[in-house]
């Protein structure tokens, strides 16, 4: 997209490339250090592929000790390090830097222990999210957080981003589903937070690491909680003639005391896009589609379905279909899960936003987005994790058209500002990364950001670990005028240049 401000390149590091690569090759197998242009190309970007950077070198360590030695070396030589899991992140958190080592955790791909008695799995961070469920499902267990990229995303990346998924209202996000981590700090110190028991005493350092986007340490082992698969899971597919009625029904389901396992909303644009794409059989006359999933024991689910049905009828739903088999339930989800590729098929490019809003503000948010869509003359389709208020507008555009690119960025940024204005936040689950870095000023004031930077500084004094991510780069804030100046005072008078 537009030119991106990144930390100042240290040319002395670039000049020392040969020496650095040689030294790194002493710390792990030679084959694990990549430095040729064609070897580096696959690592130039993560899933926010509009931004690319070639790293100085890629290192793929095989164990915690190697990670520790590599970080210790980089720390002593002032070399920046960007950690990377599977590279599926949508906010550019694993975007390389030209003068930084890209530390790939792809070789940490083993599950170390399955402990049914303590209901946990000890795993290396490169194992995929779904890989954990696959390892325990034969005994009827699963790992609850289910980001849509779960087939490919790694559990280490999930920890870095505190990933959620459609079931996070009932089962929480990553932070609520892990028991312990092993982590290496930038200076090479290996530490362990938590383990197989609940609620480690003292500061919840595991809670701090989870969602810190690779800025505070490199996770080398994760202990996750596993849950028993519910006896019955059923879904309802409900069409509404207006956004308001559908939004009200979703709010009423929650306020009536039901906690659905998942609750998704799609607007008309997305209903059409996904139905064309996946032939999911969605009600195309509906203005809004609600998918509600309920789990539990047989009678519990039946009871809840009755309540949901009554609420939706009261709110004038235009259609209502209940899943009567696992196959049918999955078919209800097929369209929703194809939302992104469906938009991809409608325009050369799409840009996925990720704000959170209070559930009750959905109609207001969608209306605002519609107005913005008209203003910027760019089509948009919306999906919404109605259970937990996470909104994903998908803006469709043509990336080859520079003007459209600029407008898309502005449109996206206005959507996120709207989320904040409605009482929400700028990122629900994709992370800040480089994408929403400058918008942090919309949510936090000097003190808030300063406190977070102080934590960063206390654990990574030289600011070598994943610099330039999450926190605004002063230069950019000032240049682009995105800092909102309160009472004519500079927003960041004493902001460290991170």
């Amino acid at each position: 997209m537009s030119e991106l401000a990144l930390p100042k390149i240290d040319s002395s590091i670039l000049n020392r490339k040969t020496e650095i690569v040689k030294n790194l090759s002493k710390l792990t197998d030679k084959e694990n250090v990549l430095s040729e242009a064609d070897e580096l190309r696959p690592y130039e970007t993560d899933a926010l592929s509009v931004y690319t950077q070639t790293p100085l070198a890629v290192v793929l360590p095989e164990n915690t000790e190697e990670v520790s030695e590599i970080l210790k070396y980089c720390h002593s030589e002032n070399i920046k390090v960007v950690p990377r899991g599977a590279g599926t992140g949508l906010s550019g958190g694993a975007l390389p830097l030209q003068d930084a080592i890209l530390l790939g955790l792809g070789k940490f791909n083993k599950i170390l222990e399955i402990d049914y008695e303590n209901k946990c799995v000890v795993t290396q961070p490169g194992v995929t999210n779904l890989g954990i469920t696959h390892a325990v499902q034969n005994k009827g267990f699963y790992y609850a957080p289910d980001p849509s990229s779960q087939l490919a995303c790694s559990i280490g990346g999930n920890v870095a981003e505190n990933s959620g998924g459609v079931h996070s209202l009932k089962y929480g996000t990553t932070t609520n589903n892990i028991l312990g981590v092993q982590m290496v700090m930038m200076d090479g110190t290996i530490c362990r937070f938590g383990g197989k028991s609940f609620d480690q005493e003292g500061y919840d350092l595991m809670g701090l690491i989870c969602g810190s986007e690779g800025l505070l340490g490199v996770v080398t082992e994760v202990t996750v909680k596993i849950l028993k698969t519910p006896e019955v899971v059923r879904a309802a597919l409900i069409g509404f003639p207006s956004i308001k009625e559908g939004g009200d029904a979703a709010s009423e389901i929650i306020s009536s005391g039901i906690v659905p396992a998942g609750m998704e909303i799609m607007d008309k644009a997305l209903i059409e896009a996904t139905d064309n794409f996946s032939k999911a059989g969605y009600p195309r006359d509906a203005e809004l589609l609600l998918i509600v999933e309920l789990d539990g024991t047989t009678s519990e689910v039946n009871e809840l379905i009755k309540k949901v049905e009554a609420i939706c009828k009261k709110n004038h739903c235009s259609s209502l279909k209940l899943s009567n088999s696992e196959k049918e339930r999955l078919s209800f989800w097929a369209g929703r899960k194809a939302a992104f590729p469906a938009c991809g098929a409608m325009a050369p490019d799409y840009y996925c936003m990720d704000g959170s809003i209070p559930r009750g503000k959905l109609a207001e948010a969608l209306l605002e987005i519609k107005k913005l869509s008209e203003k910027y003359e760019l089509p948009v389709a919306n999906c919404f994790h109605a259970g937990d208020g996470n909104l994903h507008p998908l803006i469709m555009f043509d990336g080859n058209d520079k003007e459209q690119l600029r407008k898309t960025e502005e449109f996206g940024s206005e959507i996120l500002k709207t989320c904040v204005r409605l009482g929400g936040v700028i990122t629900g689950e994709h992370g800040v990364g480089i994408e929403k870095r400058e918008l942090m000023c919309e949510m936090f004031n000097d003190n808030d950001i300063q406190q977070q930077l102080s934590i960063k500084k206390s654990l990574d004094e030289k600011n070598l670990l994943n610099p330039g991510k999450v926190y605004p780069i002063l230069r950019k804030c000032a240049e682009e005028g995105r800092v909102h100046v309160h009472k004519n005072k500079d927003k960041f008078p004493d902001l460290p240049r991170f």
């Binding site: 700090m185 609940f198 005493e201 810190s212 306020s255 689950e429 994709h430 949510m443 406190q451 654990l459």
Partner: protein, 426 residues
Amino acid sequence: MSTKIKINSQIFQDSNNIYYPKDEVEVSDLIRELYKQDSPTEIIGNNSKSFIGNKTQSANTTSLSKISGIIDYRPEELYIKIKACTPIHEIEKVLSENSQELAFEPIDFGYIKDGKSNKGTIAGYLSCNYAGSRRFKVGSVRDHVLGFKGVNGKGDIIKSGGTVVKNVTGYDLSKLIAGSFGTLVALTEITLKVLPKKDSSKTVIIYSNNFEQIYDLFNKLSSSSSEISGAVFIPEQSNDKEFSSKRNNVFKFNDLKSKVSFVAFRVEGDQISIEEKINNLKKELELNNSDISTLDVYQSEPFWKKINNLEVFEKTEHNLIRMVIPPANGSKLCKYLENNHSYFIDWCGSLFWIEVNSKKEEKIKDLKKMANDFGGYLTVIKTSSEYDYGEPIFTVDKVRLMISEKVKQSFDPKRILNPGKMYRGV
């Protein structure tokens, strides 16, 4: 060592020289001044849990008790935003009117303190992060905090989080604040996730004193898709007459046998699903030939209150230990405890409340070693009058202590807030 200082402000001070700031601005002014003067302060709410933790090394005391009241309660959004020192009973009352609750089931530490109910304030409770019986199912206090506002050790008002469940904007400082014993931030505002209250509950009692069988039951209970929301083991320890008599006095119910060890598990929900789950569980646990009884809702509710009031240790003058371990090691610990200390087990086999006789302080060292060996930790929640703090009351290793010191430094560089409450240097 710091000395008491006179703050040049309008902040109310009582006859004991305790400061009572009335809002976050006054808290900020006060702490900013203390920061300038290098003069640390103890932070208290309504003092219900101030006996937990080390004595702070501070010359001043700041009570946040005037910062109280509900700011914004949105039942349909499942959150409540409150001023930090709002009493928990007030929060529970307003939630209950909307058939909602704090799902982490706050423990009432008033009973062990002086035999009187006192759940204290939400800030105090969050600062300890000690969840009740439902923890293994719904998460701890930290899992229910959506955001907070407070004042760091420099006097800066800071915030983190928000009111929405899904939020990954910046570091998740709410987690860090939970269980920090007021050493990072003087809390002024907290937003909590709230959940619907279940219609009803029933509790099934299984009489047994065979530790292998008990842990087999715990394992099957936590492996079932018929979810339970509480599971405890209450041993009968006839060799400890004081405990035995208290125990039998506390757990006096029509459908509960006296003087026998038992496992109790709770099922919550609507009537139909409760019956269905209990029937499923009876099959899965193979209870056909077991000695069991069932507490209906009128007995079940007070039963779990007594558990979460720690009533069997009411007004204890001994050391009270809270030990958390992975459940697979539980039966080994039971065997050790059987002839040594009175105890009971919560969280489906993970949480042990252990009473250690006042003259046996050295025994705490043994227990701490066991906790470490089993992959867990212990905290001395209440100390006897003879406790000399030779054995630290928290468990921490060197690396975590080093990182904790760095984190403390980043919030409170001059160690103004509750210094030494958890560890020396923090």
